[in-house]
């Protein structure tokens, strides 16, 4: 009973900001207030009719898709090497590959800006894709490594013994068996890229507005409930895509 109370309180504490945002997106006032006054769908209509928001959503989607594709391929290959390989400095390299998770985003953003200025990628779309891939690859490595750890290496040996080439073994045996990890890694990469603000702020060129940048700048200049509405839309997408995935791969009760 007491345990349930604690769980409920912690849950409320964690969820309260989200609930506040959702509530304010329905307020009839011209600025976000909590508790909301009245009820209206107006702000959702405004978001979906706004060329700026729609362009930002498209841009973020393209950026997330491109960087996810790169992160998924690189992360899967890196995980294979790190889990399967036997070489010197394995632990150090593994830590290095996962380090973008732990670096402060602002440090990474600054470092990438300086480096991209040098190589001429700053303010370009490929530059942003590359930066986002750096941020998201570690998540793919983690997910795929977890899948690989549960995998009986004898299965790959069996494939080779039956005459399969390395390519055939990978595509017909290894990949199907680690697919849950690869899919989870890709979805996480997509969500993290879509959500990313700090590094994007450093690297975005003129006219390149991701959705988080758009929300951020909207808040700077005006304070309309449409910002809450777009946030609510993001939460909705997360509920539809992220929660099933979370239950499948990250639920603490399964580990």
């Amino acid at each position: 009973m007491i345990l349930w109370l604690i769980v409920a309180l912690v849950g409320l504490y964690l969820m309260a900001p989200v609930l506040v945002v959702i509530a304010t997106s329905f307020t009839a006032t011209a600025y976000p207030v909590f508790p909301p006054q009245g009820f209206t769908w107006r702000w959702f209509g405004e978001v979906l009719a706004s060329p700026e928001y729609l362009a930002a959503m498209r841009f973020s989607t393209a950026l997330a898709a491109a960087s996810t594709a790169i992160a998924t391929v690189l992360g899967t290959l890196a995980a294979l090497g790190l889990v399967r390989g036997r070489f010197r400095g394995q632990t150090a390299i593994s830590a290095l590959f996962l380090s973008p998770i732990f670096f402060p985003a602002i440090v990474l953003g600054l470092a990438l800006l300086i480096f991209f200025n040098w190589v001429g990628l700053a303010g370009t779309f490929p530059g942003m894709v590359a930066a986002h891939a750096v941020l998201t690859t570690p998540f793919v490595i983690r997910m795929v490594s977890a899948s690989l750890a549960e995998f009986d290496p004898a299965v790959e040996e069996a494939a080779k013994n039956l005459g399969a080439s390395a390519m055939r073994t990978f595509f017909l045996v290894t990949l199907p068996l680690i697919r849950p990890g690869v899919v989870a890694g890709a979805v996480f990469a997509f969500i993290i890229s879509f959500d990313e603000l700090v590094v994007s702020l450093f690297l975005a060129g003129p006219g390149m507005q991701t959705l988080p940048i758009r929300i951020f700048t909207s808040l700077e200049y005006s304070s309309r409930p449409s910002v809450s509405a777009v946030s609510t839309l993001l939460i909705l997408v997360w509920l539809v895509v992220g929660v099933p995935l979370y239950r499948r791969f990250l639920d603490v009760r399964h580990t």
Partner: protein, 355 residues
């Protein structure tokens, strides 16, 4: 053409500064099933994996049907391996598991289908074609693993402790089945196990391995009756090992003085003064009333009853202790603890082992 199907010549594998396999030389005749038997860590699995192509030998050669395959990649060796964990493809049905190797060979689809169906029928899984491995029992998974390699008609079958994950009863049943299938298809086979009963019942010959070396290779009866080394005598069945030195020797016969006392006649060759041990199997010692001509005398110290059999520890008047087994026949009363008994040791059942 050679008379041997598989030849291992001076195989060696070194990991860092430890020698996992050392100078393994062994030849398998056509259609022969040979068991590599030894305790864990003796190098038997490493040897098998070198033959399969999963471990690169540090030295030595492997010949399959006369062809040197030492450096041929695993997927071009034409060997069929059955793994301890079965290693079935969990995302494929029984049929697709069995067809996998045929598909790798890019055979026509109708041939793939026909041979797959035949192989599944051969192992008696005809009604399980569309099942996934997780829907099968351990024994059935084992059969799928067998069908998956038999369907390819490989030159050599390799078994890596394939029965150790099955329960005792099924294990005995699968032994006979593997033996029958292997003889039916006539494919030479190398079978790794740590279980001597399994090795004896499944194999034509046994190679006993210890610390990376083959200590002895021979038929199960040879290994049991004429162990070549102390390790083999100790590892296979139970043995009385009596330490001592050789006295006189000649003509394959010798006399032996036990450290604990007493002189014994034995089979074997050794120079005078060589240290070693006498090996005597407990069931080859006859126990009789005291005073029988040619018998030694001793006192029963411990008795233990097993099914239909009594086991005694007899301390000989000369000094050494012997474990002795006696079948309990009708009308024979078990010997009492502390009783004086006679013990007959035949020279031909008493073997000298150096070391």
């Amino acid at each position: 053409m050679t008379t041997y199907d598989l030849e291992m010549q001076g195989l060696r594998k070194i990991y860092g500064d430890s020698v996992a396999v050392d100078a393994v030389t062994l030849s398998l005749g056509k259609g022969e099933m040979v068991a590599l038997l030894g305790p864990s860590g003796c190098g038997k699995t490493t040897t098998l994996r070198m033959v399969a192509g999963f471990v690169e030998p540090s030295a030595g050669r492997i010949l399959l049907d006369g062809r040197d395959i030492t450096h041929v990649p695993a997927n071009q060796r034409d060997t069929g391996m059955v793994f301890q964990s079965y290693a079935l493809f969990p995302h494929m049905t029984v049929r697709r598991n069995v067809a996998f190797g045929l598909r790798c060979r890019h055979l026509p689809e109708d041939e793939v289908r026909r041979r797959t169906a035949e192989a599944i029928e051969l192992v008696g899984l005809g009604s399980f074609e569309e099942r996934y491995p997780r829907q099968l029992s351990g024994g059935q998974q084992q059969r799928v693993a067998l069908a998956r390699v038999l369907v390819l008609r490989p030159k050599l079958l390799l078994f890596d402790e394939p029965l150790s994950n099955l329960d005792a009863k099924l294990r005995v049943q699968m032994r006979q089945e593997i033996r029958r299938l292997q003889k039916d298809v006539g494919i030479t086979a190398l079978f790794v196990t740590h279980d001597q009963d399994e090795a004896s019942s499944i194999a034509d010959r046994i190679a006993v391995m210890n610390a990376g070396r083959i200590e002895q290779a021979g038929t199960p009866a040879e290994i049991y009756n004429e162990p070549a080394t102390r390790f083999v005598a100790d590892f296979i069945g139970t043995s009385n090992l009596i330490d001592g030195v050789a006295e006189t020797s000649g003509d394959g016969r010798m006399t032996f003085r036990a450290d604990a006392g007493g002189v014994f006649a034995a089979r074997g060759r050794a120079s005078t003064g060589a240290r070693g041990a006498l090996c005597i199997r407990p069931e080859k010692v006859d126990i009789c009333p005291p005073g029988v001509a040619g018998a030694r005398e001793g006192i029963v110290r411990r008795t233990a009853r097993t099914a239909g059999m009594m086991e005694y520890v007899v301390v000989l008047t000369d000094g050494p202790e012997l474990t002795v087994q006696e079948q309990l026949r009708h009308g024979i009363a078990p010997r009492e603890d502390g009783a004086l008994v006679g013990v007959v040791l035949r020279e031909e059942d008493t073997q000298f082992l150096v070391g």
